[in-house]
């Protein structure tokens, strides 16, 4: 990390022009140092998020290895069109977010507000679709513990999705392990959705602040760092989608 230069660089910049913008916190020498430090902090925070989700991914990989058949059958219960549509929503929202950052940097206030609003709508769309998917799981009794039913796996002909995928009936002891799959499905997508909800909350806050002109006066670190967070949450989904939905289709 080429950072020892950052401090020296910061000091020389401060010496060059004495007046500081209002957003420079007192303990920093220069706005560059401030932006540098906050960006670095955000990357570190994302690193902790990787470790957080890493625990879940590890669990998923282990159990998929152990209970391969059950995982294949259970994943056929997910809807690729819905999941795919959600993936599309998130990718587009990453684009609008990136545009938002660009607007903030080039000091276009209305552009920024528009981009943030679009990101918000796309994020809400994602959560909406997700809740449709969750509801379907409830109805089919695929939520662990909640009257969990093995019907779709013991008798695939009674279940449209299983039939469409051409599933064969599973023996009882194998079918039981589909519950582990759905445990992980809800834990992983649930944690992801929680991150989306937090993101949406921050977006609403940012839209009001952006409307008041807070991010278009040169101080863009907050927008930039939120952008990093939003992209990160998208990337998690980019891993979840193939692992949960796609990997077992042939």
């Amino acid at each position: 990390m080429p950072d020892s230069s950052a401090v020296e660089h910061g000091a020389s910049v401060a010496a060059e022009h004495e007046e500081h913008p209002a957003y420079l916190r007192h303990h920093f020498e220069s706005t560059e140092q401030q932006a540098d430090a906050t960006n670095f902090a955000m990357w570190l925070f994302l690193l902790t998020e990787i470790m957080f989700f890493g625990g879940l991914f590890t669990a998923y990989l282990i159990y998929r290895n152990w209970y391969y058949q059950a995982f294949v059958a259970a994943s056929h219960q997910l809807s690729i069109p819905l999941g795919g549509f959600n993936t599309l929503l998130l990718i587009v929202s990453s684009f609008t977010m990136a545009m938002g950052v660009w607007c903030a940097e080039t000091r276009r206030k209305s552009g920024l507000v528009l981009c943030l609003c679009m990101t918000l709508v796309l994020g809400l769309g994602f959560l909406g679709v997700k809740s449709v998917e969750y509801r379907e799981k409830f109805e089919k009794h695929h939520v662990p513990s909640y009257h969990y039913s093995l019907n779709s796996f013991l008798d695939p002909d009674s279940d449209e999705a299983a039939k469409a995928a051409g599933d064969k009936p599973l023996p009882l002891d194998v079918a039981r392990h589909t519950e582990v799959y759905f445990s992980l499905y809800f834990a992983m997508t649930g944690m992801h959705a929680l991150h989306m909800i937090i993101g949406v909350g921050i977006l609403v806050f940012m839209i009001f602040r952006a409307q008041a002109g807070a991010y278009t006066t040169g101080h863009v670190t907050f927008v930039e760092n939120f952008g990093l967070y939003w992209h990160f949450v998208d990337i998690i989904w980019i891993f979840l989608f193939p692992l949960l939905y796609l990997i077992s289709r042939h």
Partner: protein, 556 residues
């Protein structure tokens, strides 16, 4: 030994505490609760940590009282389970993990690297609030029935078989975890981005290196225990089956996730203490720390190796024999960097001008007790001996030697060492030397017998035991009483010193760190003007030259 003390205080008849300092800058409770000043936040932590320490200590007292007699007579056995669980939870998550970093680290890291504050003051304050929220939640669970799973939240016990407050206690630990993530993150960013001109990586005091390594552990390991707690909570509430064998889940996975954090966590609980010891040993033997680079890198090595030994807590849990072999070997490797530190401190003492002020007495205590604790860790890391010793009092003695004999001694050493800097006043020397010796004696009486008990086969976590173990248990309880006195004394005389202590001046110890080259207590912005690090770290000759210069200026 040429002189018996290195302390140089200003003339007490004329000396004053500087009018302008971080304590006097603003008044009122709000100026504290909303502060961004790393020094004030450190003080907030110091007060709240001490509070939790004494609650945890009271619980320990109850444990030792119960174990005075072989029968379970003081309390019901399930109350006993709750008492030792809450003792562990409070001491580990609310005292030891934040102890040195959140107080001394917070106060000193910016000063040592010549910065005005940590990089993220608001996040720093937030982490104190999280800590308090977690701590109060833990107290609340204690008041409403407690929890009895042991601090390790072992599944399926915690998910299926107990109906105590696992959820709220888990949540408390989860919140405290975020507090420690934010502290670690703040330190890393600060050390990377806020160093004063000339402060290169190899001029950083070893205290800073140790905190850097501990911060890496906090940032990378804590999220893993967070997700483990989330999964336990989901399993308890909605019944997902990731750890539930009846559904095809595997409780061993919980153990992996938990120890993936909790082994690194033991290094979070010792590395900052090692940082304190490096500073103290150097100052009180008037020598540069021997093998500075080796000590610095051994901190990093501990952090790295620390990630690859977690399964030594699982030798008897049904992991494969090959895994046992590998983790046993790696465990022995991780003892090497710890040993490097002990050797280098010893070499620093060699031919140094040693004086025996209180911080140094604690530091000697640390070196002896940590060495025993670390070596017995190797007994536990050898899979053969571990099968005999695991889940006995041998483990209890092992980790109390490293955590109490190590980290707590280091904490007290550091508090005494930097007390003049934090408050502007000296603590009373004689009585605090006495307290340090009392602590050392009490500690050995309390925990050494437990090694013997463990080898004889007394299991941990039971309220009753066979009568032949009583003698050693009585020793242990008597020792705990002495130890209690040793911990109460500092509270009394430190509070006393706030008013009546001698005025300390900038640098009572003649120490070389940047934090000593400014007034005590420091200004809110730490330095009058940005310091420039134009000399080497632990450079006592530079310090002498500097003082000569000041004298000349004063007389001219």
């Amino acid at each position: 030994m040429s002189e018996s003390t290195i302390v140089k205080l200003p003339d007490q008849s004329t000396a004053r505490i500087p009018k302008m300092n971080y304590l006097s800058k603003e008044n009122g409770i709000l100026s504290w609760l909303l502060t961004g000043d790393h020094k004030r936040i450190a003080i907030l932590y110091l007060i709240s940590l001490s509070f939790f320490f004494f609650i945890g200590g009271a619980l320990a007292g109850l444990i030792r009282l119960e174990l005075l007699t072989p029968q379970a007579d003081l309390m019901a056995t399930d109350t006993y389970n709750k008492v030792f669980t809450m003792h562990g939870v409070i001491m580990i998550f609310f005292f030891l993990v934040p102890s040195v970093p959140a107080t001394l680290g917070n106060f000193l890291i910016p000063m040592m690297i010549g910065a005005k504050d940590l990089a993220l003051p608001k996040i720093n304050l937030l982490s104190w609030y999280l800590y308090m929220a977690g701590g109060l939640l833990a107290l609340y669970t204690m008041a409403t029935g407690g929890v009895d799973t042991g601090w390790t939240f072992t599944t399926p016990l915690s998910t299926h078989y107990v109906n105590t407050n696992v959820l709220t206690t888990g949540l408390a630990a989860f919140i405290a975890g975020f507090s420690s993530i934010f502290t670690g993150l703040n330190f890393i960013v600060t050390i990377h981005k806020m160093r004063a001109p000339g402060m290169t990586w190899f001029k950083l005091p070893l205290f800073v290196w140790a905190h850097y390594a501990a911060s890496v552990l906090m940032v990378l390991a804590t999220p893993v225990v967070a997700i483990a707690i989330v999964l336990v909570a989901l399993e308890r509430t909605i019944g997902i089956g990731v750890f539930d064998p009846t559904k095809g889940g595997d409780p061993i996975l919980f153990q992996h996730l938990f120890w993936f954090y909790s082994h690194p966590a033991v290094y979070i609980m010792i590395l900052p203490g090692m940082g304190v010891i490096s500073e103290v040993i150097s100052t009180f033997s008037r020598k540069r720390v021997f093998g500075y680079t080796a000590v610095a890198f051994s901190s990093v090595a501990i952090a790295i190796f620390g990630f690859f030994v977690w399964a030594h807590h699982m030798f008897i849990m049904g992991i494969s024999n090959y895994a046992v072999l590998v983790f046993s070997l790696l465990t022995m490797l991780v003892a090497v960097p710890s040993a490097i530190k002990i050797f280098n401190w010893t070499f620093t003492l060699y031919k140094g001008s040693i004086t025996f002020e209180t911080p140094m007495i604690y530091a000697f205590g640390f070196m002896g007790l940590f060495t025993i604790g670390g070596l017995t860790g190797v007994f536990l890391g050898v899979s053969g001996t571990d099968i005999h010793l695991t889940e006995t009092y041998f483990i209890v003695a092992h980790f109390h030697f490293v955590m109490v004999g190590g980290m707590l001694m280091a904490f007290l050493s550091g508090i005494h060492f930097w007390w003049p800097k934090m408050t502007g006043r000296m603590y009373p020397e004689k009585i605090s030397q006495l307290a340090a010796v009392v602590t050392f004696i009490g500690f050995n009486f309390t925990f050494f017998p437990q090694f013997i008990l463990g080898t004889l086969g007394m299991p941990r976590r039971y309220a009753s035991y066979p009568p032949e173990f009583q003698i050693l248990n009585v020793f242990s309880t008597a020792g705990a009483t002495i130890l209690g006195v040793g911990y109460l004394l500092p509270v009394l005389y430190l509070v006393w010193s706030l008013r009546y202590g001698k005025i300390a001046g900038n640098n009572p110890w003649q120490a070389t760190g940047l934090e000593w080259q400014t007034q005590s207590p420091p200004l809110t912005e730490n330095f009058v003007k940005m310091p420039i690090m134009d000399h080497d770290v632990y450079d006592y000759e530079w310090l002498e030259a500097q003082q000569e210069k000041e004298k000349e200026v004063a007389s001219a």
